[in-house]
Amino acid sequence: MLIITCPYCGPREQSEFHYGGEAHIARPADPQALTDGQWAEFVFMRSNVKGVFAERWNHSSGCRKWFNALRDTSTDRFLAVYEMGAKPPQIDAPELRTPAGEPLIGSGNDETKVMTEAEMTEAEMTEDLGGGS
């Protein structure tokens, strides 16, 4: 069970909250002036970080207020909560660590691979697995 600390109500179960996506994305002042590409950038593109992420939450079954949070997306740990309109607080971001000790990029399952690169023959490494042209 994930416990989220609402800045107004204190610690509550996740089922009382709704997620609101990435925080601090300013709506363009003049949307009419944007190209479709720029508008798509605003609507769809998010930073999707692995690590500390600023995001919005709504305590929908509690006080019904929106607030911001800093969450480590690799551990689900909430590092800070702060009010809408406030700047993210400075935090001592812990070194990125997951329960499995994964690296920054990729699944991190390198050590459990059946065959390491050193063990592969050159033919296996350059083998065309796609069956394409």
Binding site: C9, R12, S15, R64
Partner: protein, 207 residues
Amino acid sequence: MTEPVAASPLAHREPLTAERVSVSETAFLGMLSLRGRPATIGEQAASALGAPLPSAVGETAVAGNITALWLGPDDWLLVTPPGNEAALGTKLSDALTGTHHQLTDVSDYYTAIDVTGAAARDVMSKLMVIDLHPRALKPGMIVATVCAKANVWLHVTGSADRPVLRLIVRRSHADYLWCLIAESGREFGLPPQLPVGRVKLHLPHFE
């Protein structure tokens, strides 16, 4: 033209009683939703109500026949006996004239289900995640939370060992919650209640 008739969403139910727990509806309570910033409306609201608005999570304030429940930092529910809501609304909106606020009569949206008795906390703790133990939830407190996936306000009165757990629920959720509470109380002797529409009930924590 026909005259409007007040109909409670649980009019088809009779109070349920067992040795250590009882369930009943308190229908037609007057309820006003008051919203505004405490710095803007606090003083005028306090003088109209006769008590300061509660200012922190869990707090309630009682002034005569009005109970003010803290729902959020700028959000209160004012509960008053049936029929008193119009007078209270007029009094408050007069006091708050000129301030930025919102005052809405929501008496029709909600009803109250009272679960009382020594086993009331045991019955409800099967349906809710929050800590219902008296060390965490004392008489006089309000909690906005989830009960079997439905949003409820839980207002606790009575004493620590004989609490009155008042669930303020949306009228469309009332029958569903009523039947689930009865189901949860079966082990304490509450009779089974068949939901309107004969929907099969499952206690979420016992599926």
